[in-house]
C-alpha cells in the first residue's frame, strides 16, 4: 500500500460520527405520493418547464430544459401527472420555483438495459451525459458535461474521483463505493474515454478501509496497460474532499486562486457523479435518484436511502419513523458546510447528500464572543487566509474592505469556525463579506 497523502496547509479533525449509518446498506425508499422538483438544481440558469399542468409524464421523461446559458435538462423521477407549478422550500434560497408531480402508483418502473458504450464516439458520450442531466452531485451542482470538455489550451492528463467523504456523519459515498464499486469504476472508464486520457486516481480517506479494499479490487479488474485506475488512500483530515486540497494531496499540483482544476491538468468528479455517469452512458438512465444519508440522534432510524429527486424531507422523516424528542437542529448537507433549516417542506435535489437531525448534545449553541487574536483560524484555514480579520471588519461595519483578505478564495469549509475558541461565526462573516466586497 502506498503511503497516506494529504494537503499541506491547515485542516481539522472533527469527530467522524459516521458510526450511526456506515454499516447500513443503501435502502430504497418507497416513492411518496407527491414529488416537488425544483427547477434550479444546478449552477447556471434554472430550467424552464417543458410540460404543462395535468400532463401525464413517464419515468425519466424530460420535464424541464435550459433554453439559454449553462445547464442540464430535468427529468421526471416517476410516472405520474403534473399537478402544479409553485414554490418549494430550499435550504439556501428559502424558496424556489418547482414542479409538483402526482405519482402514478400503478405504473411499472422503467427497466434500463446495457448498451455498448465502447463503440460510441466522444461527442455521443458527452451528449448522453448532458441529456441525462448529470451535474456534480457531490454538492456543488456544476454541470458535468462542461467539466468533461476542458478548454483546449489546458490539456488534461489526470482524472481524480473524489471518494474522500470528509464531512462527518455522511456515509452515502462510502456505501456506494462498497455496493456499487464496479459501476463507479466503469463510470471512471467512460470519463477517461471522453477526456481522452489514461490515468485515474480514486482518493479515499483511510477511515474507510473496507471501501478502499473493495474499490482497489474493482479498479484492478479494469486496469489495463492503457488505462490505469489506482485507489489512493488519504489521511483522515477535513477538508480532504475539497477539490483543490484533493488535487494537491494526490498530484502535488497547486491550483492557483480562482483557477479551475483544468489549469493544472486535472479533472475531479465525485464517486457518486461517476456512478451517475455510468447510469447515463451505460444504462441510458437519467439522473433522478439520489443516495443520501439521514443521520443524527434526532431521527428514530438513521439510514442510507436511495430516494427520488423531489422527495420532501417530511416524507423521509415519516418513512424513517419520525424524529426523537431530543431533536434540536436540522442541517441539510454535512455538519461543516451544510445549511440549518427550520422546515421539513424541503424537497431533495440532485445535490442533497444528507439531512442531519442533530440532538442537543451534538450541536453547540454557545453565543459567540470577542476575537482574542489567538490565530487558530489562521492555522486551520486550508487556503491560508485570515478569517479573524474578515470577522473583525464585518463586525466593524466595513465588509466592503475585506477583498484584501482573499474572501473570494474562501470556499466556506468551516475549519476556522470549528476551531474558534470564542465560537465566532466566521463562515457567516465571510459570507456577509462576499456579499458586500468587490472582487
Amino acid at each position: 500500500m502506498t503511503s497516506l497523502l494529504t494537503f499541506p496547509k491547515g485542516g481539522v479533525h472533527p469527530p467522524a460520527s459516521k458510526g450511526l449509518t456506515e454499516n447500513l446498506a443503501i435502502e430504497v425508499m418507497a416513492t411518496p405520493d407527491e414529488l416537488e422538483i425544483i427547477l434550479g438544481q444546478h449552477i447556471g440558469a434554472p430550467c424552464t418547464p417543458t410540460v404543462a399542468p395535468k400532463d401525464a409524464v413517464q419515468e425519466g421523461q424530460v420535464i424541464g430544459e435550459v433554453t439559454k446559458g449553462l445547464g442540464v435538462p430535468l427529468h421526471a423521477p416517476v410516472a405520474g401527472t403534473i399537478k402544479s407549478f409553485g414554490m418549494s422550500g430550499h435550504p439556501m434560497r428559502v424558496s424556489a420555483p418547482s414542479i409538483t408531480i402526482q405519482t402514478n402508483k400503478e405504473a411499472a418502473p422503467v427497466q434500463y438495459s446495457r448498451c455498448d458504450w465502447q463503440k460510441l464516439a466522444k461527442e455521443e458520450l458527452l451528449a448522453k451525459v448532458h441529456g441525462a442531466g448529470i451535474i456534480g452531485i457531490g454538492g456543488a451542482g456544476f454541470p458535468s458535461h462542461v467539466k468533461l470538455s476542458p478548454p483546449p489550451d489546458n490539456p488534461v492528463d489526470t482524472l481524480i474521483l473524489n471518494g474522500a467523504e470528509c464531512e462527518p456523519y455522511i456515509t452515502a459515498d462510502h456505501r456506494q463505493m462498497l455496493e456499487r464499486a464496479q459501476e463507479i469504476v466503469e463510470g471512471a472508464l467512460v470519463i477517461l474515454k471522453i477526456l481522452g486520457i489514461t490515468k485515474c486516481f480514486i482518493g479515499i480517506e483511510n477511515n474507510k478501509p473496507d471501501a478502499i479494499k473493495t474499490m482497489t479490487e474493482a479498479a484492478a479488474a479494469v486496469s489495463t496497460p492503457e488505462h490505469t485506475v489506482v485507489v489512493q488512500p488519504l489521511q483522515v483530515k477535513y477538508p480532504q474532499g475539497s477539490e483543490k486540497q484533493l488535487i494537491q494531496a494526490i498530484t502535488g499540483r497547486k491550483v492557483p486562486g480562482f483557477a479551475l482544476p483544468s489549469a493544472v491538468g486535472v479533472v475531479v468528479h465525485n464517486v457518486s457523479t461517476a456512478r451517475a455517469i455510468y447510469d447515463a452512458v451505460v444504462l441510458s438512465k437519467p439522473l433522478y435518484e439520489k443516495v443520501m444519508t439521514i443521520s443524527g440522534k434526532g431521527i428514530k432510524r438513521p439510514a442510507n436511502l436511495l430516494v427520488k429527486v423531489g422527495t420532501k424531507v417530511s416524507d423521509i422523516v415519516e418513512y424513517l419513523g419520525g424524529v426523537t424528542p431530543e431533536l434540536a437542529k436540522i442541517v441539510m448537507g454535512g455538519p461543516m458546510m451544510g445549511f440549518a433549516v427550520s422546515s421539513l417542506d424541503i424537497p431533495v435535489t440532485k445535490t442533497t447528500s444528507s439531512v442531519l437531525f442533530l440532538a442537543e448534545d451534538e450541536i453547540d449553541t454557545t453565543p459567540h464572543s470577542q476575537c482574542i487574536r489567538c490565530g487558530w483560524c489562521l492555522e486551520a484555514c486550508p487556503m491560508g487566509l485570515e478569517p479573524k480579520e474578515v470577522g473583525l471588519y464585518v463586525e466593524a461595519g466595513r465588509p466592503q474592505d475585506t477583498g484584501q483578505f482573499g474572501v473570494f478564495e474562501c470556499f466556506e469549509c468551516g475549519c476556522c469556525a470549528y476551531v474558534c475558541p470564542a465560537k465566532r461565526p466566521l463562515v457567516q462573516f465571510v459570507r456577509l463579506a462576499k456579499m458586500k466586497a468587490k472582487r
Binding site: 428559502v94 440549518a340 427550520s342 453565543p367 459567540h368 463586525e395 457567516q428 459570507r431 456577509l432
Partner: protein, 290 residues
C-alpha cells in the same frame, strides 16, 4: 544669561526662518504652477447641498452629486432629499436648470409582523445583523417576507430617523428625509419610499400564496386582489405577488371613490394613509404596546 546661548538661539531661529521662507516660496510657486482648475460652480453647489453624505441621490457623497449636477445636463437639480425644496431651488438657480417639483416622501415599513403576531420558526444564534440572520434560512421569522428586526435600517440611517421599538423599526417622520439608505440596507426589502400625499398603503410585503400567509400572520395580504378589482382609478396592480399602488394615479382620482379598496380588503391590510399625523400616531401606539 550666557551670551553664547543667546547667540546659539538667535542663530537657530534665523536658520529655521530661512528654511521656512525657502520652502514657503517653493510651495507657493508650485501651487501656482500646478494649480488644478476647479469649477467654482461645483464648489458653490456643494456648499448649498445638505451635506449629509447620505447617498440618497444615488451618487457617492455630496461631492459626487455636485459634480454630476453641474457637468451632466441630464441630472435633475432636485435629488438632494435632505435639503428638500430650498436646496433644490438653489441648485436649479446655480446650474440654470429647470426647477422640478420636490415630492415630500417618507420611508414606510411595509410589514405588520407585530400586529399579525408572526411567530419565530427557529432561534437565531449568530452575528446580530439582519443580512446575517437572513443568510440562515431566510431569518428567524415564520414569514419569509417580514422584517427581521435586528435594526440594520436603524443603524444605516444617517439622520437617526429610525428607532427600534421592541424589535421593530419605527420611522420618525420629523427626521426622515426619504434618502433611501434604509431601503438599500434592508435585506428583506420591506422598506419603501412613499409620497406623503398618498391616500392608501399596504403595510405588508409578502409575495407568498394566501394560504401560506394565513398560516403565519393574522393580518398579512392574502393576494385576493379585491382592491385591484374594486379600484375605480385602476391605480392598484398585482405584480410578482405583491400589491403595488400607483400613487399619482390614486391621488389624481381624488376622494370620490371613498377608499373602496380599504373598505373591501378582507384582511384590513389595505389602509388609509394620513401622512405624518398617522405615522406619529402609529409610532405612539407601538411604543405604548411595548
Amino acid at each position: 544669561m550666557d551670551p553664547a546661548l543667546v547667540k546659539l538661539a538667535l542663530g537657530g531661529i534665523a536658520l529655521l526662518g530661512c528654511i521656512g521662507l525657502f520652502f514657503g516660496i517653493g510651495l507657493a510657486l508650485a501651487a501656482h504652477k500646478f494649480a488644478v482648475e476647479a469649477n467654482p460652480l461645483i464648489e458653490e453647489v456643494l456648499e448649498s447641498l445638505a451635506g449629509a453624505q447620505c447617498g440618497g441621490c444615488g451618487y457617492p457623497g455630496c461631492e459626487g452629486y455636485a459634480i454630476a449636477v453641474v457637468t451632466n445636463p441630464e441630472v435633475p437639480p432636485n435629488l438632494c432629499f435632505p435639503g428638500k425644496e430650498k436646496v433644490a431651488e438653489r441648485v436649479a438657480q446655480l446650474t440654470g436648470k429647470k426647477m422640478t417639483a420636490v415630492e415630500d416622501m417618507i420611508a414606510l415599513v411595509r410589514c405588520s409582523r407585530k400586529e399579525g403576531r408572526v411567530s419565530h420558526k427557529h432561534e437565531y444564534i449568530g452575528f446580530a445583523s439582519c443580512t446575517a440572520a437572513n443568510l440562515g434560512f431566510g431569518g428567524p421569522s415564520s414569514c419569509n417576507y417580514s422584517c427581521i428586526g435586528l435594526g440594520e435600517c436603524a443603524e444605516s440611517c444617517p439622520f437617526d430617523a429610525i428607532a427600534m421599538v421592541d424589535g421593530f423599526p419605527v420611522v420618525n417622520p420629523d427626521k426622515c428625509v426619504a434618502c433611501g439608505t434604509c431601503v438599500r440596507a434592508c435585506p428583506k426589502k420591506v422598506i419603501e419610499l412613499m409620497s406623503l400625499k398618498a391616500r392608501v398603503h399596504v403595510p405588508c410585503s409578502t409575495k407568498d400564496l394566501g394560504k401560506n400567509v394565513r398560516k403565519v400572520c393574522e393580518v398579512g395580504c392574502i393576494s385576493c386582489q379585491m382592491c385591484v378589482k374594486k379600484c375605480p382609478a385602476e391605480a392598484i396592480a398585482y405584480t410578482d405577488g405583491l400589491i403595488t399602488i400607483d400613487h399619482p394615479k390614486c391621488i389624481a382620482y381624488g376622494p370620490e371613490c371613498q377608499e373602496i379598496c380599504v373598505e373591501k380588503c378582507p384582511r384590513n391590510i389595505m389602509r388609509k394613509y394620513e401622512g405624518r399625523v398617522a405615522i406619529a400616531r402609529q409610532a405612539d401606539g407601538l411604543k405604548m404596546a411595548s
